[in-house]
């Protein structure tokens, strides 16, 4: 088993998976929050745009989004997000993070919206009645409570994101499943071991995340 881990640099591959997860988590949380705010905005065109984003992106396969970004925007149109001199694997990594962020932002937005829905109408009315404007009401009253109510569903999204990073192996990012594919090809005699090691790697990443999110959501729960 140690031989396998060493030969295919499984630890290095999982480190790439972790990096993809962290960057895409930050990206999707930022974009998702913006989308969620658009969705609950009283301005109709904004809420329409937010709903449109969620419905289009959520219902598009992640592979398709990643392929579109990488092959159309990067290779065909030559949009560079990394310095031109960077290695092609770096370009693939950056576009992979963008794809994962855009895709999971739709789920983050929905999780936040469900969190916003747990905040009673009375909270928003009270915020307005003391003279807070729309932005202040969101910042000071609605979103802090919505985030707390959304922690559990956000945890689900982040776990799904961790596993979905395997999709970007298709554009050549050397993350965990990329190493797995190599191992299967060149060491088919230890096939079961390969699967065991890989699934163990993901369990090690996601299980603590689940525990953490559950604990945090319990600790921060708003008493009503």
């Amino acid at each position: 088993m140690l031989d396998l881990v060493r030969e295919y640099d499984v630890l290095g591959a999982f480190w790439v998976t972790v990096q993809l997860t962290v960057y895409a988590a930050v990206g999707s949380l930022v974009i998702g929050t913006v989308i969620a705010i658009l969705r609950v905005s009283p301005v109709r065109i904004f809420s329409w745009a937010g709903a449109m984003y969620v419905n289009v992106v959520r219902n598009t396969p992640l592979t398709l989004i990643v392929f579109f970004l990488f092959f159309c925007l990067y290779q065909l149109l030559g949009w560079h997000l990394a310095p031109l001199s960077a290695r092609s694997s770096t370009h693939a990594f950056v576009w992979g993070v963008v794809g994962l962020s855009l895709y999971h932002a739709s789920f983050v937005a929905e999780a936040l919206r469900s969190g916003i829905n747990t905040v009673g109408v009375g909270q928003a009315e009270a915020a307005r009645s003391i003279g807070l404007d729309f932005g202040q009401s969101l910042r000071e009253v609605i979103l802090p409570q919505a985030f707390r109510g959304a922690i559990a569903p956000l945890g689900n999204t982040m776990i799904a994101l961790t596993k979905n990073t395997t999709v970007v192996s298709t554009i050549g990012v050397a993350e965990a499943s990329y190493a797995m594919k190599n191992a299967i090809e060149f060491s088919p005699n230890v096939l079961y071991l390969i699967f065991a090691v890989m699934s163990l790697g993901f369990v090690v990443l996601t299980l603590p995340m689940g525990v953490l999110f559950t604990q945090v959501s319990r600790r921060l729960a708003v008493q009503r």
Binding site: P42, G122, S129, I130, L132, V141, P144, Q223
Partner: protein, 247 residues
């Protein structure tokens, strides 16, 4: 009344779909006046309260606060809302903030008062409504009566020109109604302009300058409390009083 009205509603109409909830309402409230609005449920009295700070929009008519017409949605409206305090039936304290933070949020964010000053004023207000020792707790840790007193203090923290009370004691356990009404009576005595939607006839008798009786979206009768409770002129009011005062 000699002075300019502080709050004035002229020919205000509002519909909820096909339901005509406010029918051509005219009402002028003088500075320092305490107006109690009573009436059967569904009469539009809560809606009347909520249109005054535009938590509900109106279909036609005008509402002016201290001579300024109520602006449409936006910064101007937010500024004006700070002049009109509101106390809700279900308290609506900010659940994720301490009692003290509930009081300082408005002054700090809207009035740009320095946090230290706002805190001092907040503590004084909490003292006034008798819950100063609860300042560091969260709303859910307080009783309903305490929460509602905090809600009144939160409204007061912005130095509003008028405070609207939307059935402030209806969600309370009976033994807590008194403590909230005491605060409201003290406020009325101190000269605060108040619009109070309530079923508490005792409060109306004790503190109101005027009773407005609503039914089916209209103001059916308005008079001083003594006249209203002893010699109501309309059949609707007699019927309503007969039903609530007999048991």
């Amino acid at each position: 009344m000699a002075s300019e009205p502080l709050v004035e509603l002229v020919s205000v109409n509002k519909h909820f779909g096909a339901l005509h909830v406010l029918k051509d309402i005219n009402l002028a409230i003088a500075p320092g006046e305490v107006v109690v609005v009573i009436g059967p449920s569904g009469s539009g009295k809560s809606t009347l309260c909520r249109v005054i700070n535009r938590l509900e929009g109106i279909d036609s008519g005008t509402i002016t606060i201290d001579g300024v017409p109520l602006p449409a949605e936006g910064k101007e409206l937010a500024k004006l809302r700070a002049e009109v305090g509101m106390v809700f039936q279900s308290f609506n304290l900010f659940a994720h903030r301490t009692i003290l933070q509930n009081l300082t949020l408005g002054p700090v964010k809207v009035r740009k008062v320095a946090p230290a000053v706002a805190k001092e004023q907040a503590l004084a207000l909490l003292d006034r409504v008798g819950v100063r020792d609860q300042a560091e707790k969260y709303p859910a840790q307080l009783s309903g009566g305490q929460q509602q007193r905090v809600a009144i203090a939160r409204a007061l923290a912005l130095n509003p020109k008028v405070i609207l009370f939307d059935e402030p004691t209806s969600a309370l356990d009976p033994e807590m109604v008194g403590e909230v009404l005491d605060v409201m009576v003290a406020l009325a005595k101190a000269g605060m302009t108040m619009v109070v939607v309530t079923h508490e006839m005792g409060f109306a008798r004790k503190a109101a300058d005027r009773v407005v009786f609503m039914a089916d979206g209209q103001i059916v009768e308005e008079s001083d409390p003594e006249t209203f409770f002893t010699k109501p002129t309309s059949a609707r009011a007699r019927d309503f009083l007969g039903r609530i005062l007999t048991h």
